[in-house]
Amino acid sequence: MRYSALSLVKNAFTHNRNWGEAWRTPDPKKHYDALIVGGGGHGLATAYYLAKEHGMRNIAVLEKNWIGGGNTGRNTTIVRSNYLWTEASLLYEKSMQLWERLSQELNYNVMFSQRGVYNLGHTLQDMRDIERRVHANRLNGIDAKVVTAEEIKESIPHINTSPDARYPILGASLQPRAGVARHDAVAWGFARAADNLGVDIIEQCEVTAINCEGGHVTAVETSRGTIHAEKIGVVVAGNASVLSSMVDLRLPIESHPLQAYVSEPLRPIIDTVIMSNAVHGYISQSDKGELVIGAGIDAYTGYGQRGSFSIIEHTMQAIIELFPIFSRVRMLRLWGGIVDVSPDACPIISKTPIDGLYFNCGWGTGGFKATPGSGWVFAHTIAKDQPHSLNKPFNLQRFETGALIDEHGAAAVAH
């Protein structure tokens, strides 16, 4: 059923009791042409584009819990494409262009709001890096500009731009097309759209082994039985190493806890997104009024979906440094996700030494923004058995050849 204004009115008359389920709950078949392991945003997007762009309809998404219950529902929903290096900026910009028409495409409101993202500079070197990145972005056709402290103050009146601040704000980069989206809706929208195209979305189905024969994948063992497939795409974020160890594939990935926070709801006070590398925090305000806050990863590796109190304290310090007005705001909730950090802060979207097995991982702290683009290039990689030109540089071999795409510190990333 297509959602429309008419369907809203019709269902309102029956007190919204007759909405059908958004996607089916099928039992796994014995065999699929392709399997996607991981029912987060990236996995669902991959399945959707496999079905839509490449006509593969006999496919399934396997999710060990419920869809969108991992990092997809645990991030701070920021979407931007102002990365420094050409390889990265083109990939994230592809994603941005998909975001811009995603609600229409999926017939599902993902509440994509292009409210702009500011990346603050606090030192002369910060500002030099910002100018370099802004110029690099513009050469790649990505909207970006350098703004002064005065311009920041005009747009964000409550921010502390005093020159006496401990880390004075000297300026920022601004990407006006960047913004936020509702992360749950992204998972649900892709799930519903993929399901409409015949994709089986199988929840509560944990992969416990990957079977290979003669260097080719044949099947996965799951908590719901053996499922055969010629092609298997693994996109499981923090658990990438767990899956790769099933086939003795070594990955340059370390999984870390990354925490995020929301405050009690406030009246509208921030209508954009503000990120700072130097004081290390980022903040926006949700439509419900909560301040949505994030910062850096815990230093140690962990799969526990929670982190240490010292990180919470540090994050709050950073936010209060930028916005002293929030010093008495109470935090409502906090949670942790498991992020798969790669050595160059760039993803691995790649074939593997095993035929028919593909990995999409290493998005680290910034995967949400890439959800549609990641799915789009991964679907291409799986369907054609070769990478799209956009994700060709993001192969697993780059750690041997040395062709790293070093976005650590370059990408306006607050890791």
Binding site: N239, S241, V242, S245, R250, L251, P252, I253, E254, S255, A299, Y300, T301, G302, Y303, G304, S308, F309, S310, P343, F399, E400, T401, G402
Partner: protein, 89 residues
């Protein structure tokens, strides 16, 4: 917050320590002879297990000495602390 028992200083808060990543990674004995694949393995590839992890810690705000810990990466419980010998990386 982890409570980490430095072998020399005793139990201290996690904020006194720096994390050193996976333990038991040996520096190549003949660096000139290593292939690109072997270099990549040494530099970048990590076990990153879900469960017991042997890892390095440095008491950077204390005695500044390195030691090892065996920590569960799901529960974060530290089962064992060990000092480093000549050949343990």
């Amino acid at each position: 917050m982890l409570l980490i028992k430095c072998p020399w200083c005793g139990a201290r808060a996690e904020t006194e320590f720096s994390y050193g990543g996976e333990a038991d990674i040996k520096r190549p004995e003949a660096p000139d002879k290593l292939s690109d694949k072997e270099w990549a393995d040494y530099l970048f590839m990590r076990k990153n297990p879900r469960g017991t992890h042997r890892e390095l810690w440095n008491h950077s705000q204390g005695c500044r000495r390195w030691f090892g810990a065996e920590r569960n990466t799901v529960t974060y419980q530290i089962a064992d602390i060990f000092t480093l010998s000549e050949d343990s990386g």
